[in-house]
């Protein structure tokens, strides 16, 4: 049932029903006429460029693409995309996008949200979108701070963070968005970094091809209120030991010359980082993004230290096929018609016990 798109990705089952572009597209086609108003140096610029640069690859009619956002710096994103878009209210974008995607399977629907929008005020909608598996791609820009309200701690901020609202340090334990999504039955969970365009694009590619809800956490630098939050992952030297790049089917190794690796602890069953030796090389875990159970993906998500960010896995942690909500909803409509025939209003209204009054 899959069709071939005009270029690039070939067969994308998730987008079968979305009309294809008549002509070859370029990045320029996806830039709106609106002036981009993020702070100079904001990580959002890089993400916008990556998304605009990736879209032509999908080859979809751009009138069939919709970006829906909530509130926050990241949520201004739709204004800059020359597609259909809605800048909605705080935290509700997944709910609004669910109604749109469930009623219009010919659309490619993207949600843009932030750590405050998705995980504080909108936490409920996020987890329910993930468990339902509606055909949505959710880009969660995580800068670990409230930017638009000028610098309060967010639900992903590290404990003890000093901000305007927490002069003595924040008390809340942070969410790990990847762990949260895996716990919420997400069928696709990935993490990437704003400044790594190649990696970001590859993750977008895989998310777009995924039928169902995809959550992509994008570490994004807020250079005004939380500058350098992800330096440990960006600084070339530090990154070697901090970042674990996951690739499906590949042994999970990182560090200089792949000197370090992830193995399963035989006693606890948990995962741990070891120095790779000839003795343990065969025990290095091979990443399986398609594993039916989310257990190992969850264990991988827990390797990261929330304070130092050491051992942060990036890439696609989980990508499994699960029934898609909007497909099933449409199937129920079809089978209702098969079983009962197409609805006839006159018959419906005159159902039940009736009687006639004649003049």
């Amino acid at each position: 049932m899959a069709e071939t798109s005009t270029e690039g990705t070939g067969t994308i089952e998730a987008l079968t029903l979305v009309p294809k572009a008549a002509a070859r597209q370029s990045m320029k086609d996806f830039k709106s006429d609106q002036e981009v108003r993020w702070c100079p140096g904001c990580g959002d610029y890089a993400i916008l460029a990556a998304v605009q640069g990736f879209m032509p690859e999908l080859g979809l009619a751009k009138e069939n693409i919709v970006f829906v956002s909530g509130i926050g710096c990241s949520s201004r994103f739709p204004y800059y995309m020359n597609t259909y878009g809605m800048h909605s209210i705080h935290g509700r974008a997944p709910a609004i996008a669910t109604g749109l995607a469930a009623s219009r399977r010919d659309l490619s629907v993207w949600v843009v949200t932030g750590d405050g929008d998705a995980l504080s005020i909108g936490g409920n909608h996020l987890i329910h979108a993930l468990r339902r598996n509606v055909n949505l791609k959710i880009l969660l820009f995580n800068n670990r701070i409230y930017g638009l309200t000028k610098g309060q701690y967010s639900p992903t901020s590290e404990v003890g963070k000093i901000t305007k609202s927490t002069p003595m340090g924040s008390l809340d334990a942070p969410f790990n968005p990847v762990s949260l999504a895996l716990g919420a039955e997400a069928s696709f969970v990935a993490r990437t970094i704003d400044s790594d365009r190649k990696h970001l694009t590859e993750v977008l590619r895989q998310a777009a091809a995924h039928p169902g809800t995809a959550l992509i956490e994008i570490y994004q630098n807020c250079n005004i209120f939380n500058d350098g939050a992800f330096d440990a992952l960006k600084d070339k030297q530090q990154a070697e030991d901090a970042v674990i790049r996951l690739e499906h089917g590949q042994p999970i190794r990182f560090g200089a010359d792949g000197a370090r690796g992830v193995v399963r602890d035989a006693v606890t069953g948990d995962l741990k980082v070891v120095d790779v030796t000839p003795d343990n090389e065969s025990q290095i875990l091979v990443h399986d993004a398609h594993a039916a159970s989310p257990t190992t993906a969850f264990a991988l998500s827990r390797l990261a230290d929330p304070d130092t960010l050491h051992h942060t896995p990036i890439g696609v942690l989980r990508s499994v096929d699960r029934p898609v909500y909007d497909t099933q909803m449409a199937d129920q409509l079809d089978s209702a018609i098969e079983q009962n025939g197409k609805g006839d209003l006159a018959t419906l209204l005159a159902g039940g016990d009736t009687w006639t009054v004649v003049g």
């Binding site: 009138e63 809605m86 800048h87 909605s88 709910a95 109604g99 009054v357």
Partner: protein, 647 residues
């Protein structure tokens, strides 16, 4: 009139109207007296687990199929199974039926069926002297009576002397009737409501085929249970026919002159509303999308619509009230007829999204089945105290049109009217029903499809604006000069890609704008759009050029009209008008109000419409209020209106 009105059969024969074809009346076979009545009010009352709502529903269906006019009032606790035998656990169903047109479920029952002491105690205060009481004596044990504070049995202490008391061991008789079935005593006892239904059906000559068919269908997978219930039902009928305690049965002729010709059915407000939404979807040629979260008393609309997927209806049970309306708004952005259903607490949660819909100027139906408030309030009781919430319950200047149905059947038309306004003016619309309309029922003339309004809309197809340089562009906030509605450009339309949001927009382009003058203009324009909605003029019923006007809205229509009839029958002059559109008000409302010396506004709140009327028209409107979770009684309203006329 609160007591049974009886006439002899001979007298009644003379005015039997001709020409009506109605359900077959089942006449008792015996030789007992038959008396003719013009109307009866029956109340079934028992424990919330006794099946009183089902019993009432069945009696109503029998009565509807026979062709009486009727009006019902289910009344039940919020608990699914409240503690057995207690006063808070009493569930009742009142039915008023007549050989002429009636407007309310009636003030005082002529007949009370009390399945236990609690049901007797909770309802006896509503009964006029002389009313018939049928009690299930099996349940009048010392312990059960003590539980509700009867130190002495009310059946023996003379306190019921003024009533016509029928002491019937309903449970024993039911168990006896089912002794040949392979059922435990407890299982057999559960059919006692069907025994009571059979007895009442005999008393009032109700047709029985409908209930027999209903039981066979309901218990299709448990034929033994179906047969047991049928046996109990028939045993109840036969008991009435044979026992000497019931010497008389009654006939209430079909209400032949009350109804215009047509095909009729009985319908509750929530069912009518669900059908109205399906009809609106068909008339608009838009797929229906319902985003909803379960809440009493609105959930039945979600249940009903979810059964009609073959009409292209999508129902989405959301994770919360906010997601319910959010999904509906998302679907509306995509070109569906977006609907959300809820009750007052849910509206509070949806407020921000309603404001977004006001800003996005997308069509959306917000259906509020009002219940007692504030907070959780009285989930199963009626009230109309959400008017000001519907009117003003949002941040900023966020006007929303309001439509209120006035009877259960009117919910069908109100759904179509709310849809017309939403689609024509690209705006969220509030539909204010309430618990009384939602669960109450009445006969409904089923409309022919060609009577339904044309609600088709035109999506934007291409550019709508020319720039100074001659280029053609699409402006999402360029308005229709007549309606001030903006174009509805749905995703998938090439060339019309646009972005909308809750931030203030520049007039025309829809781009973000913080310009002070633009905001002032946009606020006024959004208000002007709602103020300019075309609504029909208010009709006034004033045959005698009265000096006093009674003005109502929503579900008080029945009681107010009944009260007005009583007053006029007693020689009083009073004018009556009923508002269906609460925002905007009909254009002629100010002129109507100005014609009367006195304006009285009865409401099931503390004067919300009165507040709006006084503010807008500077009229010294008088409020008459009741907020006890129940609809007004006609007699009580008539007294209050009489005082207003005289005062």
């Amino acid at each position: 009139m609160t007591s049974q009105v009886s006439r002899t059969t001979e007298q009644a024969e003379a005015d039997t109207a001709d020409g009506a074809v109605v359900g077959e009346q089942r006449r008792p076979a015996g030789t007992k007296d038959v008396r003719r009545l013009d109307r009866v009010i029956i109340r079934f009352a028992g424990d919330s687990g006794d099946g009183m709502q089902l019993t009432g529903d069945r009696f109503t269906s029998e009565t509807a199929s026979f062709g009486n006019d009727l009006s019902t009032l289910p009344n039940f606790p919020a608990e699914i199974r409240a503690p057995a035998g207690t006063l808070p656990g009493v569930s009742s169903f009142q039915l008023h039926f007549a050989d002429h047109d009636i407007l309310t479920p009636g003030d005082a029952p002529n007949v009370l069926v009390a399945m236990n002491p609690a049901a007797l105690k909770a309802n006896i205060g509503d009964l006029p002297r002389g009313a018939e009481i049928i009690v299930n004596t099996d349940e009048f044990t010392k312990r059960a009576m003590q539980k509700v504070g009867y130190a002495v049995s009310p059946l023996e202490d003379g306190s019921l002397d003024g009533y016509s008391l029928h002491e019937v061991p309903l449970t024993t008789l039911t168990v006896e009737a089912l002794k040949d079935f392979d059922l435990s005593r407890k299982e057999a006892e559960r059919s006692k409501n069907m025994f009571a239904l059979g007895l009442l059906s005999w008393m009032y000559h109700r047709p029985t085929e409908g209930t027999e068919k209903f039981l066979r269908t309901k218990f299709a997978k448990k034929p033994e249970i179906a047969e047991a219930n049928l046996a109990a039902y028939r045993a109840g009928w036969n008991f009435g026919e044979t026992t000497e305690d019931f010497a008389v049965s009654y006939e209430i002729a079909p209400a032949t002159t009350a109804f215009p010709p047509g095909l009729y059915r009985n319908i509750s407000g929530n069912l009518a509303l669900a059908y109205g939404l399906i009809a609106a979807s068909r008339q608009a040629d838009l797929p229906l999308f319902l985003g909803s979260y379960p809440i009493t008393p609105a959930s039945d609309i979600l249940h009903e619509l979810s059964r009609h997927k073959n009409f292209g209806v999508r129902t989405f049970q959301a994770e919360d009230e906010i997601a319910g309306i959010g999904a509906a708004l998302g679907a509306a952005f995509g070109g569906s007829l977006g609907v959300t259903t809820t009750s007052g607490p849910g509206v509070a949660l949806k407020s921000e999204t309603i404001g977004l819909a006001v800003s996005l100027e997308l069509p959306l139906l917000v259906i509020d089945i009002q219940r007692g408030g504030p907070s959780t309030g009285l989930p199963t009781k009626t009230e109309q105290a959400d008017l000001l919430q519907a009117m003003f319950g949002r941040n900023g200047e966020a006007p929303v049109p309001i439509v209120a149905p006035c009877t259960p059947a009117d919910c069908f038309d109100a759904a179509l009217e709310a849809t017309r306004i939403a689609l024509t003016y690209r705006t969220p619309v509030m539909l204010l029903s309430d618990g009384y309309l939602a669960n109450g029922s009445e006969p409904w003339r089923i409309p022919e499809l060609d009577e339904l309004p044309d609600l088709t809309v035109q999506f934007a197809q291409g550019p709508n604006h020319t720039l100074p340089d001659g280029s053609e562009v699409f402006w999402p906030y360029k308005r229709d000069p007549q309606t001030l509605a903006r174009p509805w450009a749905v995703p998938g339309t090439p060339g019309l890609e646009h972005r909308i949001g809750g931030i203030e927009k520049q007039d025309g382009t829809g781009n973000i704008s913080y310009d002070p003058a633009n905001h002032d203009f946009m606020v006024r324009t959004r208000q002007a759009k709602i103020d300019g909605i075309d609504v029909p003029d208010l009709e006034v019923d004033d045959p005698h050029e009265a000096r006093t006007l009674v003005l109502g809205w929503g579900s008080t229509y029945g009681p107010i009209t009944a009260a007005v009839r009583r007053l006029r029958a007693a020689g009083e002059s009073i004018a009556q008008a009923h508002l269906r559109h609460l925002n905007p008000f009909p254009r002629n409302l100010g002129a109507v109000l100005g014609r009367y010396e006195k304006v009285v506004i009865p409401e099931m709140n503390l004067g919300q419409l009165a507040t709006l009327i006084r503010a807008k028209y500077l009229v010294d409107a008088h409020s008459y209020n009741q907020v006890n979770g129940m609809p007004f009684k006609a007699e009580q309203l008539a007294t209050a209106l009489k005082e207003a006329i005289d005062g």
